[in-house]
Every structure is written in structure tokens, then in C-alpha cells.
Symmetry: C2
Amino acid sequence: MRESVIVTVDVVLFTLLDDELAVGLLRRADEPFKGRLALPGGYVHQQEDTDGLAAAARVLRDKTGIEAPYLEQLYTFADGARDPRGWSVSLAYYALVDRATLECQAKDAFSLVPVAELPRLPFDHNRIVDKGLERVQNKAAYSTLPCFLAGTVFTLAELQATYERVMGQKLDKSVFRRKLAELDFVEPTGEQREGAHRPAQLYRIQPKKSRMLFDKAL
Amino acid sequence: MRESVIVTVDVVLFTLLDDELAVGLLRRADEPFKGRLALPGGYVHQQEDTDGLAAAARVLRDKTGIEAPYLEQLYTFADGARDPRGWSVSLAYYALVDRATLECQAKDAFSLVPVAELPRLPFDHNRIVDKGLERVQNKAAYSTLPCFLAGTVFTLAELQATYERVMGQKLDKSVFRRKLAELDFVEPTGEQREGAHRPAQLYRIQPKKSRMLFDKAL
DNA sequence: GTAATAGTGTCTCTCAGACAGTATGTC
DNA sequence: GACATACTGTCTGAGAGACACTATTAC
């Protein structure tokens, strides 16, 4: 017995907007919920997409123009009530993009909304965003994940601020740097950031260590 | 553009067999791979199953007779190569069952294989088991999850042994008990386990705290 | 008594947190 | 010089690990 099931991918696109975690939303071009703000999503294309991840990357690229440096499966929402068209499966992915990359690649037709100010979204998209937030916050302290929100180069103060924003708590500067040194996944570029006061060393992620998991929290 | 996609659920059933983590496998009744050992799995039934979790519970119940006390979504495997019939989606779940419950509920037609001795499985079932193992091992130290493998009542020595088996490392008795006391999720039943030597106090999980996550490792 | 397992007490050393201190830039 | 930000050094308290110790059963 084989039944036809609607299979879509939906992407939660996270970035930092004014030092707050924000989500990328699009106005839906088609029914159902045409015209409403929702997560970028679309059908899986069996000919085009080798797997779920590829489908998510394609959907994100086609709908927003963005090639996310970080894209990972989040959860799969599958039930008979989430879509008015009937039983459906949504392969949910989440993406992390820094503001610079986003500004440079993004098409205009798309909104960034801070997670604290999200409107009611169609389908179960609020649940999907919640699940994404939970995942990002849980993983933040134990991984290099927030680095993808900080851009390609950053000062240590900026990186610390990024971790603090995602984790939702203040960190001690001295402790943060001590652990960074131990974990050894950033390296100085040699460049400095000039500003109003003493310039700061610029750093980047060591290419081989861009996706690390730690034993202890940062 | 809506395309029909095969949607199945597959369940990795973990239990402890001779102090080793083992997986429940079934001989496939139908093509493809008829007669081969594989994970219990089946199609989603849109009329019957309210959601993915319900589908996984039903498949596990129908194929093995087991009502798993712990059942959680693991990952979704979706691509064009995993099933010879074409592009397919497998909603993978993992279940934890203690030996006593398993013995009492299980139908006979099913094999328990220690994870170290797994044969080559059809589809991408080896990948699914690997993912499940990874998940269980990662979560073990930070959750009550291994308790579901220990049975409804257990001595502290048995519980420690269970954690050690799942985590793959020895723990210090004194440290283990100190943390158990702090986390406060087991309670004495009042009963004792009689044996060859000094009897041990029996414990159970506090019903309200059966699924806890810890900040620190046990 | 001995053996074996249950359960507890205590020392030490590591490390996170707190915070003060120094360095180097702008004005 | 003052001030602001970058960066470093050091003290302390909590807690994990190691391990010895006591308790209670069977024999």
C-alpha cells in the first residue's frame, strides 16, 4: 500500500539583526496562505535534488538568493493537520548567515524579523522556528556554530558578543578568551580593526575547524 | 508541481543484551530485500496515523509487539538512492526498551543483534543505526535516557552499569551517586534486592522526572 | 572469621568565574 | 593629560575524580 504524501522542505534562516537573532521570512506567492509571511519553503524536486539537504539549499537559493554557509537538518514535521491540503511532511532545515553575506546576496523581497517579534505564521511555522531556536541555543555554547553569524573576520570582542546574543547571557571576557585559546579554532589574520580607540586584532575561523563540537561549554 | 514520494518510518530499537547495546532486527516479508534482516519499518498510513510519532509507534507495535516506553524522532533520511524504488523519505525513530518489557511483549520472529556485530543491512539502515548510536551515546551522559534500558526498578549499581554500557566508559561509584543525589530523579521503592551478599536498595525513576536533561555530565 | 557487594567520607587538583591590572589607541 | 577599549594576570571557591573507608549480607 503506497499513498501519496506531500513532501516539502522549509528553511529557518537565522541571522543577527541589531544584535538580536532574527529570522528571514517571505510573502507566499501561492495558495494556501497566499500573501502571508512564512518560512521559505517548497516541494522536493525528485529529478533536481539528490537529497533533502540539496533540496533545502536549492529552495533557499531560489527564493532568497542566499547560499548559506551553514545548513543543517532541524527536524521533520509530519502529520495530517499542519497543511490544509492533507497529510504532509516538512523536512525542516536551519541556516546561519552573517549580515554581510546576507546583504550582498539577498533578493529584496524578503523580511528579517527578530525572533521576539515574530507574527503568527501559517502552517506550523511558529513551531518550526521555536524548534530551530531551541536547537541553536542548545548547540551554541558547545560549538563553533555562532561563528557563522559573526562573518568571515571578526574581533574577539565581536565574537564574544555574538555568542552572548545567541546564548542569551553575558560571558566573562577573560574566561572566554582562555577557552578560545584552549579550543584553538580561530587564528589571527594579522589585520587590525581600526576604531575610536585601541585597535583590535582580527581573527578568522581555521578552515579545517569550522564545524567543531566541544566537550565543555564556552 | 506535486510529485509522489514514498514516505516510510523506520525504527531503531535499542536494548541491553548481555551488557551490550543491541538492535532489534526483522526479516523483511516483502520486496525489496525480501527475507533480509532489516530495521522494523513500514509506510505511513494517512488515515490511521495522526503524525510521524504515531506512525512509528504503530509500526513497532504491529511488527514486534512492543510498546516502547521511549520513542523519539532520530533523523530523516531523504534521497534518490536509498531505495531501489526511487526517491524516498524515511522518518527514522529510535526506541529504548528494557529487557524485561521486551521479553514479555515481543513476538518471536525477531532478532537482537549487538551493535558491534551488525551485518550489512539493506537500504541505508546501517547509516540509520549509526546515527541512532551516535545520538544515544551523546545524550546518555546528559539525560535520564539510559534509565529506560534499566527497567522499572533497579539498584544503583545496575543503573551505573547501564550508564557505563551506553556511554562506553567506567564511572566512579561515589561520583555517580553524588550526582544522582543532586539531580534527584530516582527514588527508593523501599524494597531490596536479595542476592548472594549484602542486599541493595531498589530504586525507580520519579514519574514526573522520567525525561530529564542535565547541564553537566553524569 | 572471610569474601563480596552496598554504600559513605575525604583529599586533592583542575578549572570556571570574578575582577583587577596593564597596554595602546583617540581626543 | 583623560578616557575608552584591547588584552592579561591572579585569587578563590566549587566540584569532579580518586580512593580509602565503613556496613551488611552469605558462607
